[in-house]
Amino acid sequence: MRIETRQDIALWRVILAPVLAVLASLALGAGLIIWAGEPVLASYWALLKGSLGSRFALNETLTRSTPLIFTGLAVAVAFRAKFYNIGAEGQLYCGALAATFLGTGMISLPPYLMIPILMLAGAMAGGAVLIVPVLLKTHMKVDEVVTTLLLNFIILLVVGYLLEGPWKDPMSLGWPQAAPIVDEGIWPPLLAKGRLHLGFIFALVAAVLAWALMRFTIWGYEIRAVGLNASAAGFAGIGVNATVIRTALISGGLAGLAGVSEVAGLKGYLTLDLSPGFGYAGIAVAMLAQLHPLGVILSAFFISAVYVGADAMSRSTDIPTYIADVLVGLSVLTILVSVMLTRYRIRWS
């Protein structure tokens, strides 16, 4: 077997890659469906219907895609600079913590100030989580994957402590949850029915801004250069450490916004199960999008559809809902291979 570099990369291959990856994941997932004794096509049809088949389902899929767009962007931006932020889950919770801290009565402002201030606070909190890992990476060469992963566990314990201790809502009948966000901080719903809220629009705007940042600006240029060849970037005068730190802060900020969105947009208050792994799924979202911020919108929608649809599918069949997590995990792996096939050709000899 020999791996050869392709001389030119056709656009259709780049577009085809995620499609292939998704199909491959679904094909592999089919094995699990067969094992569960269910018909493959009918089950996938149930998944599709459960995620897109009705106004309610579509609304739910878009609602769930909102935090995934934020965490997907967080991962995409960071990975562009080869900063492997696997801590979007923890940063999400920190964003939620900041919004809860300020938004449950500490300050009182009209909505047009309250909403931006909560977002700013959440983004700053998310970014702040990465300060230690990124400085450890740039100044002491400590691998950021492990530190960001371990921080996820630490942050969840902090949240647990706050929700069971000082921040526990006395009105919550014993459940570990924080006081609700004040009305001025709540993001309004977009439609009369369903849970879709303003956060979805914010997520789209964030994706467009991230795309513009990466494509048109000096910062984006520097982030890409550092990720592709740090030594050449440094030689050209790009501050490699400064760029990585800046990228980390942007990435953490985006993940923090996912937490604000869930607290202020969806739930209304902070709980320990605010995120069913949006941070980790964000890795799949970003990889499927090939780290392209606009692609993140599409892949977040897809991943969200898998989660929402799998819930519906498992209600009508004997397939456990974990099928969704399996498909998400698989797609991280299949996209790696299919993207590779756009850049390289494998020769069997």
Binding site: Q7, D8, I9, F216, T217, I218, W219, Y221, E222, R224, A225, L228, N229, S231, A232, A233, G234, F235, A236, G237, I238, S349
Partner: protein, 514 residues
Amino acid sequence: MTEKSVSVMPLLSFRGITKRFGPLVANDAISLDLNQGEVLALLGENGAGKTTLMNILFGHYMAEEGEILVDGAPLPPGSTDAAIQAGIGMVHQHFTLAENLTVLENITLGTEPLFAWRRDIGAARAKIARMADEYGLHADPDKPVGALSVGERQRVEILKALYRDARILILDEPTAVLTPQESDSLFETLRKLTSKGLAVIFISHKLNEILSHTDRVVVLRRGAVAGTVTTSDADRASLAHMMVGAEVNRPKATAMTPGDTVLRLTHVACRSDSEAQSLKDVSLEIRAHEIIGLAGVAGNGQRTLANLLSGLIAVDGGTVEILGATGVADPTELVRRGVGRIPEDRHATGVVGEMPLWENLISEDRRGAEIARGGFIIDKGRAVERTKRLIEEFDIRCEGPEAETRLLSGGNMQKLILARVLSRGPRFILANQPVRGLDEGAIAYVQNRLLQARTAGAGILLISEDLDELFALSDRIAVMYHGRLTPPQNTADLSVGDVGLLMSGQEPEAAHAH
């Protein structure tokens, strides 16, 4: 010189080896013989097919046509193991040693069955000691390779081959990393080996070495054998002509009157955080219209000096004055001041391969007024316009400004870097190994461009491992050894031998006195 027995059959022969990569014919029906007890030079430019041929010998590539015979028996293709079993050993230009492991571990890897219960360390130690005595190749078996000098590492590589009872030793550009004196000792070793019946293939493009230390020369050009001659019948001109296929016309500097000072180093000390050599008390002055050549064996501080003058690291002592201002630790500011920097490794630090040409051409002034609109948005229109102009001006063969830079050939990639550097009209140029790995055409182009820049008023520091290049282009030559710099001397007053002695840390006068 083979007193024992003159075998009629060649030890190793290539018969009509042909290898294609797509449309490119890397080896075109190559046939050559290697006899017992001889040193055969394999001469050719970069890309002439030497490396491909050796890769086929060692089974890394499969030839489409032809076969290889060892002692008249065909060598199974595609098998490294078969080549080693047949007694062929290779010393690569980039050593294949693990720095964190010991000499003994490096030598014995692969000599025992993989699934044995224990390594026979005692027997290995004894055999290494025996070989050290026999061939004069001494190395401490328990030292980690990382603690050895370059010359010692090469010795370990040779021991590695001999440990496997190699009868054929192939050395790929072995002297590129050695001082002339270390090279001499290598040739002595090779003589010792051939007198014991081994045969050596010596891959090189240094004509002097080939003429004085080999028995026969096979010249490769564009994948085919351009000629085979007995060394005693050859001379520089004929070999060069065979190698290039035309008269070699490398540019030569003509005398000019130096102008103002562009670079002044005064007692510069610079610690290096990595494994590179630190600088100690380096002083140097370069003026406009002047090329200073910097000679030295790799690893003596050239890289640290280059990093310093590129703005990548800061000084620890002394002063650096470039183009009238002191202080250096910022590439962007240096470029703005009028410094042009040609990096040592164009792939690793020169360009970002996955970015298009136009993005690589703006890398140094991306925050400058021409490119950055409002200081933040990249003006792609202007960048592409600039790229088109420079592609034309520097004759860069490519598909256009949007082409991926990694797809350029070595020569065109270097032209791209030259375009980035020279289009700004720099007044001080750091040229670090500017022609390494290029073919003759590109070498002449790069050297001519540097001479033009000198004529236009630039002062140039030329770092090179190729003494021919230094002597042809430099007004004065300085030598770096263990982080110290000799005072530059006029090129006309120096001989290659003098520079060689300086490169090994000796004073020519002192050496003459003995």
